[in-house]
């Protein structure tokens, strides 16, 4: 039983990271109708930024908000520069652009930082608590607390503020929003900025555990895709729930299913995607879509 709780705790801890990235994917998906393959790389840039600032002598808690602000600006800029010109483009073209961004950002990070793994020191210290025989680290608790805070703030922003309402309106019904005087273009850009901030928080919080190198978010992105599929693309609550479920499921599968213990653990997220696709394509929280002709 102790083993079970141990796996549960570590699954939940990493699950919040998946939840953050999945939420970022879902905000972008709702607005642009595309899965942003570069979302993970954008988060990697943010994590490296945090590393640069802290190694230059800044304290983590001063660097973190600065990183979030810069990430926001970069997110908005990516939308303005790369996505906006393709407003009327097909889904395939947008997907290609995010793939190009993925390749480009990954190459630039690799070029400027190299492929040697770096360490981002955990801002939460390295305490370990033992609760009924289960190990819990201060990094796990701290990272989860920060991410819960960020997820809640984003939820409040979207559900309770007028700017959030306008972003949702612009994403869901651009034509009507335009008639109501909402600047649809800027609202979608804000969505990209917010997504970048959530991704940045996830990347920076995960970096002390998963290690800092250019490809660090690759596996995380795959699991976040699975989380977004499970929750239903475009559903923010679904993305968060999906992230936690995926985190726990892959952690438990690694422990209890022999086949999935080692390198084959990678199968878990795709098995989830396949099962969702076969039995509930709209995901747990998504709406089934009907095509209007």
């Amino acid at each position: 039983m102790t083993l079970f709780f141990q796996q549960l705790i570590s699954g939940l801890a990493i699950g919040f990271v998946y939840a953050g990235l999945a939420l970022a994917l879902s905000v972008v998906y709702e607005g642009a109708g595309v899965l942003n393959f570069a979302q993970g790389e954008m988060a990697t840039v943010s994590a490296f930024l945090a590393w640069v600032l802290t190694t230059r002598g800044m304290t983590f808690w001063l660097a973190f908000p600065i990183v979030l602000v810069i990430s926001f600006v970069l997110g908005v800029a990516v939308e303005r520069i790369f996505i906006r010109p393709l407003e009327r483009a097909s889904e395939q073209e947008l997907l290609m652009v995010t793939l190009a961004l993925y390749l480009g950002i990954n190459a630039i990070v690799g070029w400027s930082a190299g492929y040697l793994q770096k360490t981002l020191t955990s801002p939460f210290g390295s305490d370990v608590w033992i609760v009924h025989g289960t190990f819990i680290t201060s990094q796990q608790v701290g990272a989860a607390a920060v991410l819960v805070g960020v997820l809640l703030l984003v939820g409040i922003l979207f559900q309770r503020t007028s700017i959030g309402l306008r972003i949702r309106a612009a994403a869901q019904n651009p034509e009507s929003s335009r008639l109501l005087g909402i600047s649809v273009g800027w609202m979608l850009a804000l969505g990209w900025g917010i997504a970048a901030v959530v991704g940045a928080a996830a990347g920076t919080m995960a970096a002390p555990t998963i290690g800092l190198q250019p490809d660090m978010m690759g596996p995380v992105l795959l699991l976040a895709f699975a989380a977004a599929a499970l929750g239903g693309f475009g559903s923010r609550v679904g993305a968060v729930v999906g992230g936690l479920v995926i985190g726990v499921a892959s952690s438990l599968a690694a422990q209890y299913v022999d086949l999935l213990a080692g390198d084959l653990n990678q199968i878990v997220p795709f098995a989830v995607i396949l099962v969702v696709l076969l039995f509930r394509p709209q995901g747990l929280f998504g709406r089934a879509s009907a095509l209007r002709v």
Binding site: L35, F82, P85, L86, S90, E91, Q92, E93, L95, M96, V97, L99, A100, L101, L103, G104, N106, A107, I108, G110, W111, Y115, L222, F225, A229, F233, D263, L264, Q266, I267, P269, F270, I273, L274, L277, L278, P281, L291, V293
Partner: protein, 339 residues
């Protein structure tokens, strides 16, 4: 009116196109006898990867489906060929065809569940296939040789033809590519092509017109996979050793880059795209290990934003510019004459 005009004998564009094609074919046949062994090797790589890019064009350019998993399907063809030759001494022609058939079936299996919802899930499923393929291949090492891979010998030319093995594989790949280009043209200009055109415009409309949405899309996915599988088999003959690290997500992205760059809807554009994918890493590797990837990204962006239709659209554009210039000039002359 002009939309219905057939490219007749008097159309200089079509005539020039045919001339260029004939010259290119002659060059392609003669080239291996005048260049070094390494160049023949690189040319053959272009041809094999060209087959894979062509299969992506069929999928992405004509049925609007994105596959990020063609590296795995290409790898499936390569591994099937290697395993059949290595473990069962199957003749290599048969082994390649078996690889293509297996890839075709894999394409059917992938395409069917992805039909339940549009593009998104196919992208994710194929992404999964691409990511999992190297891991699974390394895991089942009794069959695949694990991380060290599995090796075969490049086959000699049959029927007493006096050709070195590398040149023979070159011609085999060239012939296969040409057959596939012919098949590609047949498909996209024929009944399936028109059905796909209707699907691209509006899936709902096509369904209302009686186009079997599910059947057509699955069939195209399977045909595309089969092509890529055969391309992989030929690639295996060329490189000799199949290792898991050859068939990673990066290769899939390279196919996509080649496809977009060459021109999604062109068959000879696929060869141009494949040449880019083969030669860019070679030429830019000295600039740093990430340089090829950066060049891919920049090239992809340039084509998407500034050159829709890819390299294949360039001659038509130039011709169009020249014609419109001449037309304005003529109009100006007429106006002047009228005064």
């Amino acid at each position: 009116m002009s939309a219905y005009a057939l490219p007749g004998r008097s159309d200089p564009g079509a005539l020039a196109g045919r001339g260029v094609l004939a010259i290119c074919l002659c060059l392609a046949v003669l080239a291996p006898f005048f260049v070094s062994g390494y160049t023949v090797f690189q040319f053959t790589r272009v041809l094999c990867i060209g087959i894979a890019v062509l299969s992506i064009n069929l999928l992405l350019g004509y049925s609007g489906q994105v596959s990020i998993g063609h590296s795995a399907i290409f790898g499936l063809g390569a591994y099937t060929t290697a395993i059949l030759i290595h473990k069962a001494s199957v003749p290599y022609g048969l082994a390649i065809l078996a690889g293509g058939a297996l890839a075709f079936v894999a394409g059917l299996l992938l395409g069917v569940p992805a039909l339940r919802i549009r593009g998104l899930y196919l992208g994710l499923l194929t992404l999964g296939v691409a990511v999992l393929f190297p891991t699974i291949v390394s895991h089942y090492r009794e069959l695949t040789g694990g991380p060290f891979g599995i090796s075969i010998r490049t086959p000699p030319a049959p029927w007493g033809i006096d050709l070195a093995p590398d040149k023979w594989v070159y011609f085999l790949s060239l012939a296969t590519l040409l057959v596939f280009v012919g098949g590609f043209q047949g498909i996209v200009r024929g009944r399936i092509g028109r059905a796909l055109g209707a699907l691209r415009k509006s899936e709902a409309m096509a369904a209302a017109l009686g186009v079997g949405l599910a059947r057509t899309k699955t069939l195209i996915f399977a045909i595309s996979a089969g092509m890529a599988g055969i391309g992989g088999g030929l690639y295996q003959l060329l490189i000799g050793t199949a290792t898991p690290t050859t068939y990673t997500l990066t290769l899939s992205l390279a196919f996509l880059v080649g496809s977009v760059l060459g021109g999604l809807r062109s068959s000879w554009g696929a060869i141009a795209g494949a040449a880019f994918v083969v030669y860019v890493p070679d030429k830019t590797a000295s600039l740093g290990s990430t340089a090829p990837q950066l060049v891919y990204a920049i090239a992809l962006a340039v084509v998407i934003y500034f050159l829709p239709g890819g390299v294949a659209a360039v001659p038509a554009r130039l011709l169009g510019m020249w014609r419109s210039k001449r037309a304005t000039h003529t109009v100006q002359l007429q106006q002047r004459g009228g005064k």
